[in-house]
Amino acid sequence: MILFDRRSFRAFDYVLLSTMALLYTLGTILVASAGGSVYFRKQIVFAAVAIPLAIAVSTIDYRRLRDRAYLLWGLVALSLVGLLFFGAERAGARSWIDAGPIGIQPSELAKVVVILAIARYYAEGDPRPFGLRGLYVPGLLAFVPFVLTALQPDLGTASTFIPIVAGIAWVAGLRISTAVRLSLLGAALAPLGYFLLEDYQRARLFTFINPDVDPLGAGYQIVQSKIAVGSGGLVGKGLFSGSQSQLQFLPAQHTDLVFAVLGEELGFLGVAAALSLYLLLLLRILQIGRRSRDRLGSFICAGVAALLLYHLAVNVGMVIGFAPITGIPLPFLSYGGSSALTTSMALGLVLSVRTRRFLN
């Protein structure tokens, strides 16, 4: 509490905090509608812990965390290795450490730690624009957890490390020509990656391109999700009244497809409101990055924004058929404690960047 002096209260970003609170409230209601009372009660607990956790993290000076960034990275990498051998399997992937009633997903922690490590690397380096060489170390910092997570196998979570590197590198001064060349290379290599995918992943990709081919099989999720969203219309069917969600036509409706429930029950207006909140949140994070007293803070904000934007775009895009089905949850709205933990820590870092602008 020592750190909570007058200045820190003033320095707090209430816009960010209230946006968070609003999104968590909406998420809890949607989980109640889509998942029922058991998930609802748990989600209340997650939301109630998430906001204080973000505040608690914000009280830590991010520069002190920076000093331990590589150590933390090493620990997370080690635990990811250990997970491959001793992890508890949930939903087909070895991604959990069973710690009594709470499971911990090291891959979630890894996202925050990788942001911190890459931000540190660029903050301590030459501030001039850079090309490919400037991506070697950050690339490695992201690649190790990427591979370890992909081996679990959890390709969805693994893929989140790519936007983190890209986002921080972009803000840190990656040359535009290099960025363009890398994007082209990625596009060229994408078909090659297809051969590395598992059958079910290929099926998902295939049905993403044409969901009506197999509407009851692999394309089921996309088709049902689009029906839910489309039938919601402008104003929606009302909370707890979506036929698609209440009659369980939507698979994973309280986790990955929770936004489809939003679309069905609250309509386009509800969707617009929710997306506005996300927009406000992301712009605010980037704004804090612009006002940061040092490069490290800017880079942390860039990493967090990239992570959240990626989750938003892929998850919400999936709901309306813009993106293939992946197991990527939507921050704040999807049911789940582990993802809430990551989001809170990430936003805690951003709040810390903001607070530090006024302190010391």
């Binding site: 520069r63 690397y121 660029y122 903050a123 301590e124 380096g125 030459d126 501030p127 001039r128 624009p129 850079f130 090309g131 060489r133 400037g134 170390v137 986002g167 972009w170 803000v171 001064g173 049902q224 689009k226 029906i227 839910a228 969203v229 489309g230 039938s231 919601g232 219309g233 402008l234 036929s243 698609q244 009659l247 369980q248 036509f249 679309g263 969707v271 617009a272 997306l275 996300y278 927009l279 992301l282 712009l283 980037l286 704004q287 990055g289 612009r290 007293r293 040092d294 490069r295 490290l296 800017s298 904000c301 860039a302 934007l309 938003l312 775009a313 895009g317 309306i320 813009f322 010391n360």
Partner: protein, 659 residues
Amino acid sequence: MSTVGPWRPDSKPGATRSRLRLHWPGGGGQEGTTTLESPAVRNRIDLRLRLTQAAVLFAVTLLLLGFWRLQVVHAPHYRELAENNRRRDELVRAPRGLITDRNGYLLAANRPAYNVTMVREEVTDRASTLDWLSTVLNQSVRELEDRLASQRGIPSFRPVVVAEDVSMAIVASIEARGREYPGVLIQPEQKRYYPEATLAAHVLGHVGEITRPQLDSWERDRFHLGDIVGQNGIESVHNDALAGWAGERNVVVNSAGRTVRVLDQVPPDPGKTLVLTLDARLQADAEAQLADKRGAVVVLNVETGGVLALASSPTFDPNIFAARFSRTQWESLVNDPADPLQNRALQSHYPPGSIYKLVMAVAGLERGIINPQTSVFCPGGRTIYGHYYGCLAGGHGRVSLQSAIGRSCNVYFYELGRQLGREAIVEASQRFGLGARTGIDLPNEDAGTLPTDEWLGANRDGRWYPGETIVLSIGQGPIDTTPIQLAKIVAMLGSGLQVEPHLVLREEEAAVSSLRAGVDQGARPSAVPTPVQVSAAHRHLVLDGMWAVVNDNGTGWRARNPDVPFGGKTGTAQVASRALTGPEEDRPEQLRNHAWFVGLAPVNDPEIAIAVLIEHGGGGGLAAAPVGGHVMSTYFALQAGTDDAIAQSPDGSEGESRR
């Protein structure tokens, strides 16, 4: 910005380093290298972050446009898809009409049963679902597959029956784990139920799943695959009245196919209740008398032709046919050599034997060949056309018409037959409906055999030997009759009316208030009774003979009732010639003669006619007359007693105790 070279973070202190050591106005210089940033660097980072903000705005706008397209532009299309997802039209089968006896005693009803059904469209993992069902139902996956295969014609969004009439334990375990196996449902169904099991089984028939040919030839839109319809007996002949009309309902289902609520429904139109002419108590008595025998009993109301009892033995339990899949049980019935499914009262024919003498007598009287005074001396047999035809050993002595019937003298009728000739005999027989179906409302009735010209033409190239007329005169030779035909003849003799045997007293709408114990004796199918073409005087002469059979030292004395005057006639239909097989008593059962008895009571003012046949029973007087007497006595006991006293249980012993 212009230098392109190896980029090493924080690597070489020196020129680069020193250039960086500029003071950044906004920060505190004491914090270390990270704060040492030039405004140029700061501006570049700010620009990049601003560009990122623009990208975010762009991305969210793009998403929003996507939602606009789906939720506003194409909303009606998706709304329709959502409706199709959740709404479903379901068939609501009509409850089948009840069948009662004339007093409202329930013979066929419905009871609730639970079926395990599968909506194939909703099943996600067919193999594991069938595995699970196989464990729960204790049936092999193969059996389940066969059942599904047999119902392939049903659309995949409609439930098909996998297991029928399962126990509550199975219902509970399927309900408990149903969520894991979408598409597996428990559906209640009304199941046909015969509370008295075997009682009147041959009359009632049985139900079964509709067959392909039935579905194709019956009324379109009324019957559906999987319907349970009448397949035999009254159930089949009156299926139209009993079946009712299915309703429909529009329901909301969840993703597992479970009905969540009903939006709209057209209720089914239940089948009509059929009140039969049968009296369950009399029926039970008739069946009790036939127990352990093979044979049939038919009791008719002589005025109306309403069937009061119609029993055939051995019998069966129609309940086992109500199940869709219990083939093994009914296959054993079909393959039983005693043929319990055969309705011996009308689907089997036997030579009438001496019962035919009643027809002979009418023919003789009508043609003026005999009159009550005509007498014939019986020495125990007679040689006609050079062939000796036997009668009672020792002879009957001098017999008149009455005693010839009463003591069943063959010689009298040999002589009568010789004078009548085949054509006259056949003509009289046809007047009583022999050689034709009675038209009773039961399936597969046998018409019997009569040596008409057509029959001879078709079977004998028209040849007929005079000796055959002699044999025909005592009901042997090319003549076959069914028990119901003989009961009909007796009823016609008793009432002087054309009798059309029938089983339905009336149809009632399903909402039965209370079935009143009926005094109603049964409506005739045709409004105005048609008299038989036989003079009343001649009929009464034959009835006098029938009285003598039971009451005057006749062959049917074992049927006698001290309180009610019964009339009767015994018959013994030869199965094998005595010359070949020796005395009746020494023969194996299947070569023994069939025993007949027909009766009329009270003979002076007839109400009921009866025909009794005991297959291989031996002599009619010995084997069949007691049965006939017992059943007729039961009838009068039931008439005398208050109905309530006996109505509770149609039990054969009731009649006996009242005798």
